[in-house]
Symmetry: C2
């Protein structure tokens, strides 16, 4: 049984994709079999791993809307043990297409339960909204949700709304849903703002905030333009180190190391 | 007749709210009567101007879903000539509530046509998606859409999807819809990535890219925590200067100065 984590936060640009892609890559580098599922119509996780979404026959769109078996959409990447279920632009239409579908919130969970049992970890990258795609991601999150939080004031504002949505999904759709942890991202040590935001988040969420803080690092922004995770693009950068340490912290908490 | 611009880009965290709030504030400072309409359920534009959404009787939710007259939702801010139609969290539910409504894409356009004719400019801030709320924003955009583009690689990827959506809305809902301009945001002169992204955007969009470039400036991230636009928080910062110059460039192009 794969451990399934969903990366969610309706605030845009907070590092959901960057965290999903880089934690997935370090998990694979540590020897675990990893599946990354991209349910964002922007397909940023797909292109961040060098997969060209125009070349694909099947995507997560088919899995969710046409109930195609997940297995047919699984695509290997250049990195051993790291596979992806890619997204595609037509997923943007899924929101409307799924509105009257039966058990529409469970499509992803059901698809993942039918997946081959060869993955140790499954990470799901969500779009910046609390619509049907993110609700699918939260319903499928067997082991919890990982919430990237940018070290910016506006990123604080949306957290209470996100927690309310998580509570709703726990009550109505996924009784096991819990917050696995909050990851502070794009930390800039030169500014008070970054420190204040971390302090504020720690006050509210206590030890559910991962100790590892991800610094702002240009290398992390460059890596997707080469279609590779940071461990390939620049493994000695501060961003790479931080994601490596975060992955270790996650594995420790999961009792895997 | 108010000039109506919509700020849209489904990529998250690119500076839609920051651009809407600060251009609105500088337009008001230049003597124009300005209405800022916040159709993002996160309500970041609302809190960036110090308006407490929990205290409000009516919001843009009532205007869109209950067809309450826009006039009743208009709220003054501390700054002369700058009014806002605030958002509220329950707007997140509007996407589902509006699905079967008649002419659901025209709700905002119709509401704005019923607004008092005392505004020179109306700016609409959208959420990071291409759903019904952003489509309402694009349908209401009488004079065009302003597209903030973060100087990051992943921000490039979504532009073609956004342009396709704009074309769709022009054909089906708003024949006058055009791109008023693209604003490059969070420019970091120390990195090649920023420069490459600007070059790439200029190649595709030519002179539809505003000449004014908004630099990354911590002050811009701080201002919302004080509930004020940058011209109040730190008028001499690089971010303030850039938004002042951008506003002048917009006014020049509109033949207002
Ligand atoms: N620690 C970091 N340092 C510098 N840049 C970063 C960092 N993390 C992410 N970025 C860059 O910031 C931008 C936003 O990050 P990302 O796209 O991962 O966020 P997101 O939450 O997935 O966005 P969306 O809401 O659009 O899905 C991207 O261009 C990314 O490359
Ligand atoms: N030029 C800038 N320099 C530094 N920080 C900025 C700048 N512009 C915006 N920010 C900060 O970056 C974050 C993202 O900006 P903003 O919220 O305006 O983007 P958005 O596109 O409206 O996001 P969303 O997609 O969630 O609506 C915010 O915390 C904001 O304060
Ligand atoms: Mg993303
Ligand atoms: Mg915004």
């Amino acid at each position: 049984m794969s451990i399934i984590y969903t990366l969610a936060n309706q605030k845009g640009g907070v590092g959901k994709t960057t965290t999903a892609v880089n934690v997935a890559a370090y998990l694979a580098a540590e020897g675990f079999n990893v599946l990354l599922v991209d349910i964002d119509p922007q397909a940023n996780a797909t292109s961040s791993l060098g997969v060209d979404r125009r070349q694909l026959a099947t995507s997560v769109y088919d899995v969710l809307v046409n109930q195609t078996p997940l297995e047919t959409a699984i695509t290997p990447t250049q990195w051993p043990r790291l596979h992806i279920v890619p997204s595609a632009n037509q997923l943007a239409g899924a929101t409307v297409e799924l509105v009257s579908a039966l058990a529409r919130e469970h499509r992803l969970r059901v698809a993942l339960e039918g997946a081959p049992d060869r993955y140790d970890y499954t990470l799901i990258d969500c779009p910046p909204s609390l619509g049907i795609l993110t609700v699918n991601g939260l319903t499928a999150a067997r082991n919890g949700v990982i919430i990237p939080v940018q070290c910016e004031y506006l990123a604080l504002e949306g957290l209470s709304q996100l927690v309310q949505t998580i509570d709703l999904v726990r009550r109505a759709l996924n009784p096991d849903l819990r917050i696995r942890g909050l990851v502070m991202t794009m930390f800039d040590p030169r500014t008070n703002l970054s420190r204040q935001v971390i302090q504020e988040v720690r006050q509210h969420f206590g030890n559910r905030v991962f100790r590892t803080i991800i610094p702002r690092s240009v290398r992390l922004g460059e890596a997707p333009s080469f279609g590779e995770p940071i461990l390939s693009h620049d493994p000695r950068s501060s961003g790479a180190r931080a994601y490596q340490v975060l992955t270790k912290e996650l594995l420790l908490g999961d009792g895997k190391i």
